[in-house]
Symmetry: C2
């Protein structure tokens, strides 16, 4: 099939519409019928592509999940910890900016969050969240480093999907998230020595 | 009434049980009947105290909301911006640690989040979230400062309610969140000059 065939068009429009309706009404509130009505097609036409809202949500999230897998894979091939963090941060921020509505839905909808979490946990090379955190904080982080990375990753995601920053254009938001992320994480490429120092200092017995 | 009378006991036990059940099943999934069953009382006994789940959720959240109002009020009385930020950060972290289960519920349940948001917006001296952000970033922050504060506040809340840090005792979690928060915000008490510098540098035209 080539781009422009009715099936591809319908599928793409269906996913765009579903994301919009999921965002407005939550996955709980948006029905297959509602999606069909907004597309001006029958419910059967929606069923032709997807049987459940879960399947639609998985397809809506698939490009972002694929991008995340790619980022983590590429970052893990870098030699130094600094270069790994740099690549992972830049990729993560780019993903957040490209998929703002998706990120907003992830932040606000427990149902959608469960689907993404499941996709992350079952990704081909192991749990994406764990791999991402390892890229940022190393394999055996101190509590302080684990908390820092948790705050930065969760915070970047929240800020990227936040209504108060929705009117920033992509380049502006990307640059600001990247700057703030680098500053909060201690500028990856230069931080190896300070990070080690900080770790020894911060690691407290539990 | 004195502590220990049946009514106070029932009300306290009811709120404890409701928070636990809301956390386990979400506000959507937990019913008044379920709460009554877990307390070993009739549904009528629950109705005697609260008519709706919203009322229960408001009462569950009331002590934390009250603490937040107090923190913001106390912080706003401090003279310097640094002292204001310091007080607000310490108070916010203490609140997160004291009310971890509540914070976890806030992070995961859109229904509960709506109730808290409403309580914040209608607090006596104006929207609590805006007042909190102003304490941290000033009345007219640059985009970079607004994003930093957003990331730190959202991140602290997420980390405080996160299952992966649930086994840290209160003092350890409090100290780590405070250390990380101070580092990420630039150590309030010492940051007046660097903050001003950073602002001029970071403020970019939109």
């Amino acid at each position: 099939m080539t781009a422009g065939t009715p099936d591809i068009d319908t599928r793409t429009r269906l996913l765009d519409t579903a994301l919009k309706l999921f965002s407005e009404h939550g996955m709980e509130g948006a029905s297959l019928q509602m999606i069909a009505d907004h597309l001006g097609v029958t419910k059967a036409a929606v069923y032709y592509h997807f049987k459940t809202k879960d399947e639609i949500a998985e397809a809506v999230a698939a490009p972002a999940i694929q991008q995340m897998i790619q980022i983590v894979h590429e970052a893990s091939l870098k030699r130094s910890r600094g270069a790994q963090r740099d690549h992972a941060l830049a990729g993560f921020v780019d993903l957040i900016v490209r998929h703002r509505m998706l990120v907003g839905l992830f932040n606000s909808d427990p149902w959608f969050k469960r689907i993404i979490d499941r996709a992350w946990q079952t990704s081909p090379r192991g749990d994406l969240r764990t791999r991402m955190k390892t890229l940022f904080a190393g394999p055996d982080p101190s509590i302080a480093d684990a908390i820092t990375v948790h705050i930065v990753l969760a915070g970047l995601g929240t800020a990227g999907g936040a209504p108060e920053f929705a009117d920033l254009d992509d380049d502006t938001l990307r640059q600001h998230l990247l700057d703030v992320g680098r500053r909060l994480l201690g500028r990856p490429r230069r931080s190896r020595q300070p990070l080690q120092k900080r770790r020894r200092k911060a690691a407290s017995p539990r």
